[in-house]
Amino acid sequence: MSGIFATLKRICSERDGRLGLAFTCLILMFALVGPLVSPDPNAIDIKARFAAPGLAHLLGTDNLGRDLLARTSVGTRYALTLAVIIVVISSIIGSLIGIIAGIVGSWIDRAVAAVFDIVNAFPPLILAFALIALYGNGSATFVLLVTVVFIPQFGRMARARAKTLRNLSFIEAERMLAVHPITIVVRHYLPNVAGPIIVLASMNLPVVIAFEASLSFLGFGVQPPKSSLGTLIKDGFISINQSWWPTVAAALVLAIATLGATLLGEALRRVIDPKSTRAR
C-alpha cells in the first residue's frame, strides 16, 4: 500500500504526471459518479427529442429524448471498463505465452515469435475489423477478438525478458537443483516480467480506449440501448444538423481520457522503468 502511495507521490512530482493524474481522476469521477446523480440513461421521452442543454438536461437529449449527460457518463464507464478488461486479459495471456516461449525455447519459441510477427503485419484496426466481421459482434466475442489483436505486444516483451532471465545463473542453478518449473516461474519470472508489462499495459490503455472508440463508432461492439464513447460520437454525428454539442462532448471526453491515461502511463513508466526512453 505504501508502495502505491510512494509511486503516486513520485508521479505527482512532475508536471506531466500531475496533469495526467488530474485528467484521469476527472474522467473517473465522471464515469463513476455521473451515472449515480443523473437520470436513467435509457429513459425514452419522445416529446423531449433533441432538447438543448438546460437545467433538466445539462447536455441536452438525443433523438429519443434520452439524457445525454447520463448517456455520456455511462458510455464513458462502459468504454473504460471494456478497455481495462481488454488490456488486463491481453497482458496476462501475452505474458504467459511470452514467458513459456522464452523458457521452453527451441522451435516452440521461434514459432511463437513468428506468429507474433505475422499478426503484427496486419494493421491492428484492419485485423480487428476482419476478425469481428468473420466471427461475430457479441460483447464477449468482441472483447476476445480485440484481445487477440493486442496479445503479441505483451507476448514479445515478456518473451524478451524471459529469455534474458533464463540465462541468469541463479535460475540456472535452481533448474539444476530440480526445483519445480512452476515454482521457478512464480518465484523469478513473474516478478521480473511484471514491471515492464505493467508499464506497457498502462501505455496501451489509451491506445485501447481509442481503438474501442473507433470500432464502436463504426458500429462494432456495444449493442443498444447501451452506449459507448464511439457510439455517442456516431449518434451525435448522425444528428449533426440538430445539435453539435453531443458529438463534441463525447469527443472531448474521449480526448481527455486518452490524454490523461497517456500522461499517467508515461509518468508511471518513468517511475518504474526510468531507463527506457521510448515513448511508444
Binding site: N42, A43, I44, I46, R49, N63, L64, G65, G219, Q223, P224, P225, D235, F237, I238, S239, I240, N241, Q242
Partner: protein, 513 residues
Amino acid sequence: MRMKLDRRTFLAGSSALAILPYVSFARAADRTNPIIALDTDIGNLDPGNRVGTTESNIIRSVCQTLVRFEPGKTSWTNDAAKEIKQISDTEFDFELNRGQMFTGGFGEMTADDVKYSFDRFIDGDKNGKKLTYADDMEALKAVEVTGKYTGKLILKHPSAALWLIGLCDASGAILSKKAVEQLGDKIATTLIGSGPMTLKEWRPKEQFVLAANPDYKGPYKPHFEELTGKIIPEHKTAFLSYQAKELDFTAFDADQLNTAKRLPDTKVIDIPGIDYTWIGINVEKGDLADLKVRQAIRWAIDVDAIIQGAYSGATSRAKTLLAPGLLGNWADAPLYTRDVAKAQALVAETGKTGLTFTFTCLNDATSLAVAQIAQANLAEIGITLTINAMDSGAYWALGADDASKDLELTLIPYTSKFDPSFQTQWFLASQIGLWNWQRWNSPEFDKLHQEGLETLDTAKREEIYINMQKLLDESASCIWITHGRNFFVDAAWLKPMFLPNGKDWQFEFFDKA
C-alpha cells in the same frame, strides 16, 4: 496489373497543405449542369443483373425500352416501339421505330435485339446462368421475330405486372445483341444503349457522368448536356454537402426536415412512399405462437411514438401492407393505437410471465431508434426485448438457408413496386425459409395471390388484395410502421423528376426550373 496512381493524384496528395483552402470551390451559382448525390454506387450495369436503384435509374435513361414511363407517372407511352398491338390477353405485336442507333457504333436497333435482350431473362446469360432480375419477366414465354423491325410477345398467362415491373423498367432495356456478345463480361461495367443519355464516365465509388445522347431519336430530349452523380453513402453527409452548395439535389432523412426548410434557394420535395416497414413476428417461435401474445405486442407497441422518435414525425404511420395510391390499398384497415391495459389483459389471459424475446434489426440509426422504443414499450407490459442489431450483410443473409427460423421479432424494411402482387409474394408459404420471416402459412392467402396474378380486371384485383390484407391482419404477425416518405432538397434552379414512389429517378427528365 492496372495501377491508377498517377503522378497528379500523388502530387495532389503530397502538397495538400501547400495550397491553402481559400481558393473557393465550385459553387452552385457557376453550374449549368446539375450535380446530384446517390447513396449507392453502380454495382452492375447489366440490366438483368443490376444490384439496386442506382443502376436501374441509369439504365432507364441510357437504354430504350419498348414503352417508357412518362415524366413522374406510372403510365407509359411508346419509346422504342412505334406501335404495340394487343392481339389477346397473352399476345402482343410490336413494331420498332426506324433508325434508332446504339452508341459506340453498334448499329441500328432491330427486333432481333429485342428478342436477344428479353431471351436473356428467359434463358439466362451466355453461360445459361439465371439473371438476378429474371422474375421481372416471369410472365413472358417467348419473343418471336416477324420482320426486321417487327415481332411478337407471347405471355404464359395474362399479366398486369409484366408491363409495370418488366417492360417499362430497367429489365425491359433493349440491348444491342452485337454489343453484348462483343463485351462479354464487361457488360457489368459498360452500358451501350440508344436512349436519351449516355454513360460518359464512371469512377467507381466517386461519381458517374451522364451526357445527352445527340443521336437519340425518341420523343424525350434531355434538358442538360451533362448530369453528374456523386456517390455519397450517407444521407447525412450528402445533406451537409448540399448545404455547402457542393450538390444541387439529394435525398435526406426525415430528421433533417426542419433544417432543410430553412435553407435558402432550396425546394424541399416530399413524396409519400409506397415501401413498407413492419415488425414481423415469427408465428412458429415459442410463446409467439400464441395469437394473444402477438396481439398484446401489437397493442403495446406505440407506433405513433416510433413515427415521432425514429422518423421525426415526418412520415405518417402505415396501417396495412399496400400503401395509399397503390391498387388494393385497404383504406379501412384497423389502427392499433397503443393500449397498455388491453395488452396487459391479453398477456394475463395467456398466464405467461417473464416473456423475453429478441428484436432483430439493421444497425442504422432509424432501425435502432425503432428497436429502442419498442424495447421501452414492451418493458411496460412485462416483456423483455433484447436488441440484436446487424449490419446489412448479416441481416439480409437471414433470407437464405432457413436462417430466419430463429427470429422472433424483426424490423423489416421492404421496397415496393407498382403492382401489388410484387408486395404480397413475400408472405406466401413458399417463401417460408426465404423471405417470409413471419413463417405465417395461409393456403387461402396463397390462393388469392395466384388469382390476383391472373386477373386483369382492376376492381376484382382490388377486392382480392384487400382480402389478403385482412388475412394478414387477423394473424397479428405484422405490425405496420410506415410506408416511408422520400425527402429531397433541390436547388431552386433545378427541377428533378421521379416516379411516384420517389425511388426511381428519371434522369432523362431532369430540367431547369
